[in-house]
């Protein structure tokens, strides 16, 4: 699950502020993009998709929580998808799942998955079967966002040598291994949902019925 579970008061102030600045700039851009869509596509759907992401986070596979961020990007597009990601992080912070001050950084990380996933799916569906495109569009952004989280830790002053201490040297590969299983599982879930939607409501994922039947 690509969410910094860090409480308030831990990360350097400059890093927290940078996260907020980036998140608010991205949010401003997303809101401008969202105004191009008709009212119908906006609040109720964004609310339900954001709520879906929060519900999915309660589903655990060993240490991995689903988050359906890429599916949110596929269903809502990049602008509304980023808005949903911001709402999710805001709500999670209010529920005590991570600090209030790290909402900005978390929104940037989760938003990256949403936007990257949308982009990869949009390109992939033209060249690959839809489920495979959805699977790749999920796994790649999730691994990228894990890299982003590690970069945040590094920027906060945690040196790479610290991970070479004995207990962590054994734990870190195990965690990354389990996380990659989780990415594959989430990719499978997203691919399965995309396949279902392709049969029942293809316009929701940006596939015309003519393309589906071809």
């Amino acid at each position: 699950m690509s969410h910094l579970h860090l409480p308030d008061g831990i990360l350097p102030v400059w890093l927290v502020l940078l996260g907020w600045v980036m998140a608010l700039l991205a949010l401003r851009s997303a809101l401008r993009g969202a105004r191009r869509f008709p009212e119908r596509a906006r609040l109720p759907r964004v609310g339900f998709v954001a709520a879906l992401m929060v519900v999915a986070m309660s589903i655990e596979l060993l240490i991995y929580h689903l988050n359906l961020s890429v599916l949110a990007g596929i269903l809502l597009g990049p602008s509304l998808g980023f808005l949903a990601a911001f709402l999710v992080d805001f709500l999670l912070a209010l529920l005590g799942h991570g600090g209030v001050t790290v909402i900005g950084l978390n929104a940037c990380i989760l938003g990256t998955e949403v936007v990257l996933g949308w982009m990869l799916f949009r390109v992939g569906k033209r060249h690959l079967p839809l489920p495979l495109a959805a699977w790749l569009a999920t796994v790649l952004p999730l691994s990228a966002s894990t890299g982003l989280m590690l970069m945040v830790l590094w920027l906060s002053g945690v040196s790479p040598e610290a991970f070479e201490a004995r207990p962590l040297r054994a734990v870190v590969p195990l965690v990354l291994g389990l996380a990659s299983l989780g990415w594959a599982f989430e990719g499978t879930v997203t691919a399965s949902v995309v396949r279902s939607l392709c049969r029942t409501a293809p316009e929701v994922i940006g596939v015309s019925r003519g393309d589906r039947d071809a």
């Binding site: 409480p7 831990i10 119908r40 906006r42 609040l43 709520a51 808005l83 949902v193 939607l197």
Partner: protein, 226 residues
């Protein structure tokens, strides 16, 4: 921790519950700032104790407050293992969580969203409210789906591939349900006169209990001077 429990605590008749959401947001903001900026042990001990005493005065179970802050303690301890400076990091995280609880367990969430309306851009407060409402609807639906899956033997620890496949199928059903409900909700909102903004009444900024969280916030900042 069930959200229903938090909502129940928020409706108790305690001094913090009576204070306006706006004053609590300000006070907790000052308290969190003092925790973030603290460099010595005194404010890291004084500030959480101050806010804990307010929580106790507001008829909240203190042991449960520590339980809620346990999440922050756990993740800060993991971070402190690699970052060093274990005591300061853990005290900051746990103290920050206890301060934040003064807002989160004494104020119904829709009131928090409503109070943030002037500070958040246009659709955000409405979107937060709709997300919060939708969460309960979908969580309820998911619990039914999961129970049905378990009763029919669809979840088995020794058959992970089958379990994953069944979970994926159930999630697919939930996604379709969510999309259908969002369309139905939008139709209902239109019928009730929705024109792009959910009408919300103005909450008062201050009342005679506002001094409590604001005073605690100011004292928290003064604790930095020690």
């Amino acid at each position: 921790m069930a959200i229903e429990t938090l909502e129940r605590w928020a409706r108790l008749d305690g001094p913090l519950q009576r204070a306006t959401p706006f004053s609590k947001i300000l006070g907790v903001g000052l308290g969190l700032s003092s925790i973030v900026l603290a460099r010595t042990l005194f404010p890291l001990c004084f500030v959480p104790l101050l806010w804990l005493s307010l929580l106790a005065w507001s008829r909240l179970p203190i042991a449960r407050m520590f339980g809620l802050a346990g999440y922050a303690f756990l993740f800060s301890a993991v971070y402190a293992l690699v970052a060093g400076n274990f005591l300061v990091i853990v005290l900051k995280a746990t103290g920050g969580a206890l301060v934040a609880l003064a807002l989160l367990v004494t104020t119904p969430y829709p009131r928090i969203f409503q109070s943030m309306q002037p500070a958040l851009p246009d659709p955000m407060p409405d979107a937060l409210l709709l997300t919060y409402r939708s969460f309960f609807i979908l969580m309820h639906r998911w619990e039914h789906l999961y129970t049905a899956l378990r009763l029919r033997g669809g979840i088995h620890p020794l058959r992970p591939a089958r379990t994953a496949s069944n979970l994926a199928f159930s999630l697919g059903k939930l996604v379709l349900d969510a999309l259908r409900r969002s369309e139905a909700l939008y139709a209902a909102m239109l019928l009730r006169g929705y024109r792009g903004v959910l009408t919300q009444s103005q909450l008062p900024l201050w009342n005679r209990w506002s001094w409590l969280p604001l005073g605690a916030g100011v004292l928290s900042c003064l604790g930095l001077l020690r």
